[in-house]
């Protein structure tokens, strides 16, 4: 005769055993070997002819035009033996259409595994595409998709974007990762790598403020992030060079490690370089009647990093130091004024003056926000720069 407690114990054991049938793992899992990781995306205008296309790179879509080409750089996962360090292999699949999502979905027809977007590192968009469609529709899908990272790098190129996906980095990294990592070197890059990724761009678009994105170019086997593409809201305007961007970053107080070069006062053919490593910037709006103006106070610290006529100088000499600090400050001021002039000519408020007014002078902002495009180019700026040299390196 089985006792009541034995029956209870047996019942529990049976229940536990049955429940294991339901605990065999998550059926909604996606095994790593069953996915194709997309590392980079390129968006172009579709070719006029079939120069870069095959007839399979499109799909039936009710006869609607297919003005865009979407290309995906996919990681080719391959097993590696212990100690082996093979370069990453990637391949590119491409499609044409109007809707990004439709093109992505149809691109699955060219691949043996589902495409996975959680690891997209770089989105490269051709200038021609943003000129025709604006930025918002081209990145909308990536802003909505929960898989896509907020820190994905977005680049604009004056060339065809598709060709960047074929780029094979010398480091052995996958191209998408290589391109993304370029902009992650926020301290060592001439252009703005931070605050220009997908998340920051999305926030700027939500705020209806102007957008800047790093520009990338390819030449032979080299690529370079070398300028910024500038947008009025989401409409492409022009490119700004490194010097303009440096001034803008100094004005915004987001420069991490600017190099500031000036002509040696004693040897006009020679150059002295200051490497800034700390910057405190205060931008203050002033309202006098109808006139809006700004002052920017910058205190920066850094080291002298290079003197091309070093044999002729004692870099630790107080007179040289004082003169250098004044000349560095002048150069920073000149750089900022240059950048502001470029911004005002383009009508692109990358200086954040509008944002500053909205935050600290909301009543004035409420009056002028509708005609900000007219007001911004007329705003004067007074710049005060203080430079402190902290070190001169290993040599005098």
């Amino acid at each position: 005769m089985i006792s009541k407690s034995s029956r209870t114990v047996t019942g529990y054991i049976v229940l536990v055993l049955i429940s294991t049938l339901l605990l065999t793992g998550c059926w909604d899992r996606h095994e790593i070997q069953d996915r194709s990781f997309v590392l980079a995306v390129a968006v172009d205008l579709a070719d006029e002819g079939l120069e870069h296309s095959t007839k399979l790179e499109t799909f039936a879509q009710g006869g609607t035009p297919k003005p865009l080409r979407l290309s995906l750089q996919v990681l080719a996962l391959a097993p590696q033996t212990r100690g082996e360090n093979k370069p990453s292999k990637t391949y590119v699949i491409s499609n044409t259409g109007r809707s990004m999502h439709e093109m992505l979905r149809d691109a699955n027809g060219q691949n043996s595994k589902p495409l996975w977007f959680e690891h997209i590192q770089s989105i490269i968009i051709s200038e021609a595409a943003v000129r025709k469609f604006g930025l918002t529709p081209l990145i909308d899908l990536f802003r909505r998709d929960a898989e896509v990272r907020w820190r994905t790098k977005v680049y604009i190129t004056p060339q065809d974007a598709r060709q960047f996906l074929d780029f094979v980095p010398p480091t052995g990294e996958a191209g998408g990762i290589f391109m993304s990592n370029i902009s992650r070197q926020e301290k060592d890059l001439h252009i703005a790598g931070t605050n220009t990724d997908l998340g920051a761009t999305s926030v700027r678009l939500d705020n209806k403020t102007d957008v800047v994105l790093p520009a990338i170019e390819l030449s032979g086997k080299q690529i370079k992030v070398n300028a910024m593409a500038v947008f009025k809201k989401d409409k492409f305007v022009e490119y700004w060079d490194e010097y303009t961007i440096k001034g803008a970053k100094l004005l915004l107080g987001i420069e991490k490690a600017a190099l500031i070069a000036f002509q040696c006062p004693l040897h006009p053919d020679e150059t002295v370089v200051f490497e800034m490593f700390q910057q405190d910037t205060t931008v203050t709006p002033h309202i006098e009647g109808e006139q809006i103006s700004f002052t920017v106070d910058i205190a920066m610290r850094g080291n002298i990093s290079e003197i091309s006529c070093s044999g002729e100088h004692d870099a630790t000499d107080k007179t040289f130091m004082d003169k250098s600090e004044a000349l560095f400050a002048q150069e920073v001021q000149r750089n900022i004024e240059h950048s502001l002039r470029v911004m005002q000519n383009a009508g692109v408020d990358d200086a954040g003056f509008g944002r500053n007014l909205k935050a600290y002078e909301p009543k004035t902002w409420a009056k002028i926000k509708d005609r900000w495009d007219e007001v911004f180019p007329t705003i004067p700026l007074t710049t005060h720069v203080r430079v402190s040299i902290q070190n001169t390196g290993e040599h005098k």
Binding site: C26, W27, D28, E118, A146, R149, W150, R151, R184, G199, S202, V203, D206, N207, K208, G352, R355, N356, K358, A359, Y360, P362, K363
Partner: protein, 369 residues
């Protein structure tokens, strides 16, 4: 062997922990998307004002209960405004619980499917979730209290840590302008904050179970409000600071995106939003458990039964059916609005009205100081 978890009473501190878990995950995840479009830069004022408003409501709940020591609302309400109005009040109370719970369950299903199990039908996610919640709700009060404590200590630290970590992306200019103050928006935001503070309503049923010889119950409840305020302010600082007011207005789950934006240079740490979701699930679970339990005990007491479990099963089915009807986004949003109005009306109008009637009939209750 006796069930060691079987209890019929709890301390004020245990009540504070129980109240602290109710709705807190939603408060962190969803609150910015609801309140920032209304109160904008001043949402933090709405959060504090809302806490004051609902703390006051909670205090009235306690004072009302104190007029009838040892009794729950089911027992004392007929003596305040008769049996017919009592049934109406209890139906509204249960309706508020069921509507808000159905909305939460639907919301849970949406978020899990959208962020984690995109190939699993939402019906399956909701059904499995409700089965587990129902299993929790058919337990004794002691077990539920213990679960709430464990899950609070399991979920709150990672949630707070992730919010703190997201501070690396904030920009102070995003919190300005401080002036002018949008008073209408702030008041509206305070009223709308009810779903993030709800939970004190359990006092209507559980007050007789609270052993108040040690800690002051009002002070204990205040500590829970402070806990909720702290997490909500952290969520606001994190979202507005990193994405601006306009950015938050345009995002469905701003807190998740603020945490997704964390990237620690030189480390592999990224996509931390998954961990925020994981820390939110226990809060969601225990919230539903507690409310199914409370709704069941309410009607169990009304009909004079000792076992609340059949009611828990019935209400779980009702919640499943109700949440299934909310798949359409516009219907879902309407129901969110309805549940907010029901909750606000019940807390700020109906129960305070009952208290006014008691005071009018009886003068000061003997425990009033």
């Amino acid at each position: 062997m006796g069930n060691l978890e079987r209890r019929t009473s709890m301390s004020p501190a245990q009540f504070a922990l129980l109240f602290a878990v109710i709705g807190t995950g939603t408060a962190v995840l969803v609150m910015p998307a609801t309140l920032v479009p209304v109160a904008e830069q001043h949402t933090w004022v709405s959060v504090i004002l809302g806490a004051g408003l609902y703390f006051l409501a909670g205090t009235i709940f306690i004072k009302l209960g104190d007029c009838f020591p040892g009794e729950s609302i089911v027992e004392y309400l007929p003596r305040i405004w008769g049996s017919a109005l009592t049934v109406v009040t209890l139906v509204i109370f249960t309706g508020m619980i069921l509507v808000q719970t159905s909305v939460r369950v639907q919301s849970f299903g949406r978020e899990i499917v959208f962020f984690m199990f995109d190939r699993t039908p939402i019906e399956v996610v909701i059904l499995s979730f409700l089965v587990v919640c129902t299993y929790g709700a058919v337990q004794d009060l002691g077990t539920i209290i213990r679960m709430a404590q464990w899950l609070l200590f399991l979920s709150a630290p990672p949630m707070a840590a992730l919010l703190l970590l997201s501070m690396i992306n904030i920009q102070f200019i995003n919190f300005f302008p401080i002036w002018p103050v949008n008073i209408v928006g702030i008041v509206k935001g305070a009223i709308y904050s009810w779903p993030y503070y709800w939970g004190y309503e359990v006092l209507l049923i559980l007050l007789p179970s609270i052993n108040r010889r040690t800690t002051n119950l009002v002070a204990a409840m205040a500590s829970s409000f402070l806990f909720k305020i702290s997490l909500m302010l952290l969520a606001l600082i994190s979202t507005i600071g990193s994405m601006t007011v306009e950015g938050v207005k345009n995002i469905i789950y701003p807190t998740l995106l603020a945490v997704r934006g964390i990237e620690l240079p030189g480390t592999f740490i990224e996509r931390l939003d998954n961990y925020l979701l994981l820390s939110w699930i226990p809060f969601g679970y225990i919230t539903i458990v507690i409310w199914i339990y409370i709704a069941s005990v309410t009607w169990c007491q009304y009909f004079g039964y000792k076992d609340h479990r059949p009611f828990a099963l019935i209400f779980s089915v009702v919640i499943y059916i109700a949440s299934m009807s909310l798949h359409d986004f516009s219907i879902y949003l309407n129901m969110v609005e309805t549940s907010r109005l029901l909750g606000f009306g019940f807390s700020v109008l109906i129960i305070p009205a009952a208290y006014v009637v008691v005071r009018w009939k009886r003068g000061r209750c003997k425990d009033d100081k």
